[in-house]
Amino acid sequence: MSGLESLLDSRQVWRAQTVVDSDRGEAIASGHATLDAMLPGGGWPPAAISELLSTGAGNGELALVWPVLSRLTREGRPVMLVSPPAVPYPAAWRRAGVVLEQCHWLDVQGREALWATEQCLRAGCCAAVVAWLPQADSRLMRRLQVAAASGNTLAFIHRPLSKVAEASPAPLRLRLHRHAELEILKCRGSFPPSQRIAFGGGA
C-alpha cells in the first residue's frame, strides 16, 4: 500500500471531489439553470444556510431567490423574511410568482432578529427563511447552521461584503455582483468555480 493510499484509508484526508453530504437529502433547484449546473448536487443545499454577501440591497438578491421562493410558496408552504433591508413591495413579489399569502416578514433588528431567525429555522415549518443579519458573527452563523439542520429548513443569510474574509460555517457562500452576477466563494462538496455566473433576471 502506497503512502497516499494509507493516508486516504485512515480517513484523515478530505477528498474534494466526493460529495460529502449526499446523505442530507436532495439539493433544492435554484431555478437558475446556469447556477444549478455549478452547484454541487445541482441546487441550494437543503437543511443548511447559504450565505449571500453583497454591498447592499439592489444587487439581484431577490432575483436570485425568487424562483425557489415562488415554487415553495406555490406548494403552500410558508416563507419567512427576517429584518429585510426595506419593505417588500408586494406587486413585484407577486409578479415573480411568489404566493403572497405564504410570505411573512419580521420587522426586527439586532439580537431579536438573530433569535427570530433561529426560532424560524428550528421550528421546521418554514419552507425557507431569508434573513439579513449584518450583526451575525461566525459563532452565530454556526448556531444558525445547526438550527437549519435540526429544523430541516432552507436558509439564506445576507451579510455585508465586509464579512467576506471571516470564516463561515455555511456550506455555500456566494458573493453577489451587480447586474445579476455572482461568484461562488465556497461550496461544500466541490471546488468553487473561478468564473462569475450570470443568473439572469434582475430588473
Partner: protein
C-alpha cells in the same frame, strides 16, 4: 348508577402503617392531651392483644406486659429465649406496642392523594364527606369499561396501596354515602334505590349528621321508627312540621330529589417528591436511578393532570452546607419520562456536586398545558399548520403583535398607500404593467448626485387629490452610481430626484 362512594374506615392507621418497616407488628395511633393519651386506632396484631380504641395508653401498654389480659387465641408463637425477666414470672410476649400520635394533617394528605388517584378515573371527585370519597363514574364507563370491570380495577389498585375500603355505587352521592355505611360492593340503580334505602336502619342513615345532638335520631327511635322506609311513608307536611327542613332535605337528597352541591377536588398544580438516600451519594452517576424513578413519578402525575412541564428543579440536600439547586428548563413542554431523563442527564453532565448528597428533591412548581405531538398516518398539512401556529405564537409572544407582517398590497396607485399604510380592498392579480421594485423605501430620500443613467420610464403616478395626500410623480428605473438598479422619481417641472426603492 352514577355516583360511587369509597369509604376508608382505617385511613389514618393504614396511612401511618405504610411508613413502618413491619406493618404486622402491634401498632396503635394515640390521641389526646399528653396527660391522658388514649388509643385512637389499632392494627390487627394490637387488637388481638385486646387493644381497643378509647383505651388509655397506659392500659394498652399494660396488655403487652401483663399476659393476664392476653386474648386466649393469640398466644405469641415467637418466644424470645432470654426475654426480659423483669416483666415478672410469666414469660412476656416479646412484642411491644408501637405507637404514633394521630396526625390530622397526614390524614388530610392521604385523602388528597387518594382523591388525586381517583381523579384519574373521574373528573368529579369530592371530599365532601369525611373518611370517604364520592365520585361520578357514569361518564368514565365508556373509557374504563362496564362498572364491574372498573370496580375490580379500583379495588386492585387500592389493595396494592394497602387501604381497606368499602365501595358502593348509587344514583346520587348522598345515597352512595349512606349505603356504604352498611354495604360493600353494592350497585343500586334508579329503580332499586327506594327499596334499598327503605331497608336502611335509621341510625345508619346519616341522620346524625343533620343535627349535632342526635335529637332527631333519638326522637324517631322513641317514636318507634326503625327503618328509613317508615319515614318515606309519612306525609311530608307532618314530617316537616315536626322535624324541620333539615330532615326533609336530607331525605330528598337521598332519593335524588334534591341536588347536592359538592365541592370538587382540584388536583394541586405542582409536583414535589423527595428521595432520601441511606448512604450519602458522592457522584452524579449515583443519582441516575433515583432520578429515573422520580421522573417516572412526575410523568405519571403529569399524565393524570393532562399537563406537561416547561421547567423543573432538582434540589440536592448536602451533608454539609446549603442545598444545591439545579434548574432545568426545556425548550418545549414535555412529559415523556425518557425525554425528561435524557434532557436531565445532559444537564447534569455540566453540574458538579458541591458535596455528598443526602436527599434528592424533584419539584415542578408550575405545570404547562401539554399539546401532544400528533403523529398522523399522513404527516402532512395538519402537522405543518400546528408547527406554524406554535412558531407564530412564540414570535408574537416575544416580539409583539405588530412585528410579524404579511405581504399585503391594497388597490391604490400611490406606492406608500398601497404597501405601507393603506387600507381598503386588496390589489388584484396584475401580471402586466410597468415594473415594480422588490424593495420599497419607507420614506423617499433625496438622491440628486447618485443617479447615473435613467434606464426606463417615465411612469406617471398621479393620485390622492381627494384625501390631501396628493402626489404627482414621474418614476424611472435608474442606474445607481455603483451599478445597482434603483426606483427613483421626480416631480414634473421641478428638480430633485428621490430614491423610492431597489430592484433586488
Amino acid at each position: 348508577m352514577r355516583w360511587a362512594c369509597l369509604l376508608f374506615p382505617r385511613l389514618a392507621l393504614e396511612g401511618a402503617l405504610r411508613r413502618r418497616p413491619d406493618p404486622d407488628a402491634p401498632f396503635a395511633l394515640i390521641d389526646g392531651p399528653a396527660q391522658r393519651q388514649c388509643i385512637r386506632a389499632a392494627n390487627r396484631a394490637a387488637r388481638e392483644q385486646g387493644v381497643k380504641p378509647g383505651q388509655a395508653l397506659g392500659f394498652a401498654e399494660a396488655l403487652f406486659n401483663a399476659p393476664l389480659f392476653k386474648a386466649p387465641g393469640a398466644a405469641p408463637l415467637s418466644k424470645a429465649p432470654n426475654s426480659a425477666p423483669e416483666n415478672g414470672s410469666e414469660p412476656a410476649s416479646g412484642e411491644r406496642l408501637e405507637t404514633a400520635p394521630f396526625d390530622a394533617e397526614a390524614l388530610e394528605r392521604w385523602r388528597q392523594r387518594l382523591a388525586s388517584w381517583v381523579y384519574g378515573y373521574s373528573a368529579q371527585v369530592s371530599l365532601h364527606y369525611p373518611h370517604a370519597l364520592v365520585f361520578e363514574v357514569a361518564s368514565s364507563l365508556d373509557l374504563f369499561g362496564p362498572w364491574p370491570r372498573l370496580e375490580a380495577r379500583l379495588r386492585a389498585e387500592l389493595a396494592e396501596l394497602g387501604f381497606s375500603h368499602r365501595l358502593v355505587i348509587a344514583p346520587n352521592p348522598a345515597a352512595a354515602r349512606v349505603l356504604v355505611n352498611v354495604h360493600d360492593g353494592l350497585a343500586v340503580d334508579e329503580a332499586g334505590l327506594e327499596s334499598t334505602l327503605a331497608a336502611l336502619r335509621l341510625d345508619r342513615a346519616g341522620l346524625s349528621q343533620i343535627h349535632s345532638d342526635h335529637d332527631i335520631v333519638q326522637t324517631l327511635h322513641r317514636s318507634g321508627f326503625r327503618r328509613l322506609g317508615e319515614l318515606f311513608g309519612l306525609p311530608r307536611s307532618a314530617l316537616a312540621r315536626r322535624f324541620g327542613a333539615g330532615l326533609m332535605r336530607h331525605l330528598a337528597e337521598l332519593r335524588g330529589e334534591w341536588p347536592l352541591a359538592l365541592d370538587y377536588h382540584r388536583p394541586t398544580p405542582r409536583f414535589s417528591r423527595t428521595f432520601a438516600f441511606d448512604q450519602p451519594v458522592y457522584a452524579i452517576a449515583g443519582l441516575a436511578f433515583p432520578l429515573k424513578r422520580l421522573l417516572q413519578e412526575l410523568s405519571v402525575f403529569l399524565i393524570g393532570q393532562d399537563a406537561g412541564v416547561e421547567r423543573f428543579r432538582l434540589q440536592f440536600e448536602l451533608e454539609d452546607g446549603p442545598p444545591q439547586n439545579v434548574d432545568i428548563g426545556l425548550l418545549a413542554v414535555q412529559r415523556d419520562p425518557d425525554t425528561l431523563l435524557e434532557l436531565t442527564r445532559s444537564h447534569l453532565e455540566r453540574v458538579r456536586l458541591a458535596g455528598p448528597v443526602m436527599t434528592l428533591t424533584l419539584s415542578a412548581p408550575r405545570l404547562a398545558d401539554y399539546a401532544p405531538t400528533r403523529r398522523e398516518l399522513l404527516e402532512g398539512p395538519a402537522r405543518q399548520a400546528q408547527a406554524w401556529a406554535t412558531l407564530h405564537q412564540r414570535l408574537v409572544a416575544r416580539l409583539g403583535e405588530t412585528v410579524l407582517k404579511p405581504l399585503v398590497e391594497h388597490r391604490e396607485h400611490r406606492p406608500e398607500m398601497a404597501v405601507l399604510n393603506g387600507a381598503g380592498p386588496r390589489a388584484r392579480e396584475a401580471t402586466t404593467g410597468p415594473p415594480r421594485p422588490g424593495w420599497l423605501a419607507s420614506v423617499p430620500q433625496r438622491c440628486d448626485g447618485d443617479v447615473v443613467q435613467l434606464l426606463a420610464g417615465p411612469e406617471r403616478i398621479e393620485s390622492g387629490w381627494w384625501d390631501g395626500g396628493d402626489i404627482r410623480r414621474d418614476y424611472y428605473l435608474a442606474q445607481w452610481t455603483d451599478g445597482r438598479h434603483a426606483w427613483v422619481w421626480c416631480e414634473p417641472e421641478r428638480h430633485g430626484w428621490y430614491l423610492h426603492g431597489w430592484f433586488g
